[in-house]
Amino acid sequence: MEYVLETMSLCKSYRHFKALNGLDMHIPKGAIYGFVGKNGAGKTTLIRLICGLQPPTSGEFTLYGAKNTCGDIYKARRRVGAVIETPSVYLSMTARENLKQQYRVLGLPDFNGIDELLTLVGLSDTGRKKVKNFSLGMRQRLGIAIALCGDPDMLILDEPTNGLDPQGIIEIRELILDLNQKRGITVLISSHILDELSRLATHYGFIDNGRLVKEISAQELETLCRKCARVTVSDISALALILDKTGLEYKILDNKTADIYAHPNITKLTLALADVGCELLGFEERNESLESFFISLVGGERQ
């Protein structure tokens, strides 16, 4: 698999506090990588390191094949657009002036494409309105537009839906999906709104205390979080025999418990089990969400 970003034992310390503690991460090309973690887990720190705002204390990372210690990293960063925490926009300028400014920073030869960007983020009708008079959602969208200047191959979004109203959240989500699907932009998106992330991400990285505790694709996660009925019986082989006959998909967990990936008729199942002398000791419907998966990974402390 081709990775856009790989980190190897990346560490970042602030005095005695380790914000990143040997983080290993792999972002495949074309993915929407959901970066999940509690507040203070190290999500923003990692993003700052990748974007060159701060140097790592130890470890290294490669961005588009360029090591962070090599001069090529500056070239690689030109392929990245980012919105880190708050949108980086000049408040005394209009949306168009902000985009022009970013075009100059990038050294783009002309201002073609600004109208398209403004339309893409829904800010084409802001005219001479200064950014200081924009709503938070508008600023967030302008931040994304600035990150998109120069057609980056990768977009890094740090908590992009923070402070947005439901409509704003939907707009940002649709924009990200659109950019990923139509333009093939790889997206790293950090968030602790897991429900929102679950609608977007193709891959997940779960961070806790500066370490990546799990990296998983959305497909794998779906399999892990599939709806199932967990049954506990006195004779697991009897249960397996019955389930094989009915053609239901199942997974045996131990000599008394199994997960059935369907919604079985409990009466029929109980009667069938009774016929072969097996007792049904327990029945529990399970529907593990991204949230519960995350909690099971990092422990039950509140965020």
Partner: protein, 287 residues
């Protein structure tokens, strides 16, 4: 770096504070020139507007540069746009030099606005033309630029590592004021006569006695190592250099003025301030 310079200059020309500083300097020069001109008519003393006022603004230019630099560089931090520059693959050294060059250009333009007002007054007939040789004046302007640039280098070296607009403003203005006060105090001691005449007692008829005047050692006078230190600090401070330029023009002593030494100090300061600022900025964690 060219891309950054282009971006920073276009932002400078959109910056309200820059235009306020330009207008303030132009207006202030016009104000002091006109008021002093009318004072001279009223009290019948001679003033020569171009020579007397052309470099007067250098006395407070440090404060203006401190404010402008804090506002310009601080905006990149308060708006977070410095992150856009770094994320776009620019090196910190490029960001530093781009901000420095923009600051220098802004400072020079602001001082040119002051000089433009003085020259305009002279052109409008407020007193005579330059009494100093115009070629010397032009040469002095070129000597002045590195000293102004030294101020810009100092405040860039403060503002980029501090990374906060309000903190930069407070530190910059306090430092600029402190430098003005220090230079005044140093000048007072350095220009003090070694001996001063004791007050003369007059007779009951108001006549001075027919005795030789009595002198005592002037406590304000400094000599030896202390004088050398005072002189060195005075020479190093950009205000000291600018004050020397101003006095040389006002007292028509440009022929005695050591422009090379002045420029050497100024360029030395630019290098030292920039090296220190760049070192701290390159190590700084940006949020």
């Amino acid at each position: 770096m060219i891309r950054l310079i282009r971006a920073d200059f276009s932002r400078l020309f959109m910056d309200k504070i820059f235009y306020i500083a330009l207008i303030f300097n132009f207006g202030f020069a016009a104000f002091i020139g006109i008021t002093r001109y009318f004072d001279s008519l009223e009290y019948h003393h001679y003033i020569n507007i171009p020579d007397d006022f052309l470099f007067v603004g250098t006395e407070y230019i440090g404060i203006v540069i401190a404010i402008l630099s804090a506002a310009f560089i601080g905006t990149d931090y308060s708006c977070g746009t410095i992150r856009n520059k770094l994320t776009s693959g620019h090196r910190r050294i490029s960001i530093y030099f781009s901000e420095l060059l923009t600051n220098i250009a802004a400072a020079v333009m602001i001082y040119l606005a002051f000089m433009a007002a003085v020259c305009l007054l002279a052109a409008l007939g407020f007193t005579a033309d330059f009494k100093n040789d115009i070629r010397d004046i032009v040469k002095t302007i070129f000597i002045l630029i590195p000293s102004i640039a030294a101020f810009a280098a100092l405040f860039t070296a403060i503002d980029l590592p501090i990374a906060s607009r309000s903190a930069s403003l407070i530190v910059g203005v306090c430092l600029a004021l402190g430098m003005i006060i220090s230079v005044s105090a140093l000048k007072f001691h350095l220009s003090a006569e070694e001996y001063r005449q004791l007050p003369v007692e007059v007779t009951e008829y108001g006549n001075e006695p027919m005795t030789e005047p009595q002198y005592e050692k002037n406590p304000a006078y400094v000599d030896g190592a202390k004088r050398k230190v005072y002189q060195a600090v005075y020479d190093i401070l950009p205000n000291g250099q600018l004050l020397d330029i101003n006095e040389a023009v006002i007292y028509y002593e440009l022929d005695k003025f050591d422009g090379k030494k002045q420029m050497l100090f100024a360029f030395g300061e630019i290098i030292v301030f920039t090296a220190a600022g760049l070192f701290i900025f390159s190590k700084r964690d940006i949020r």
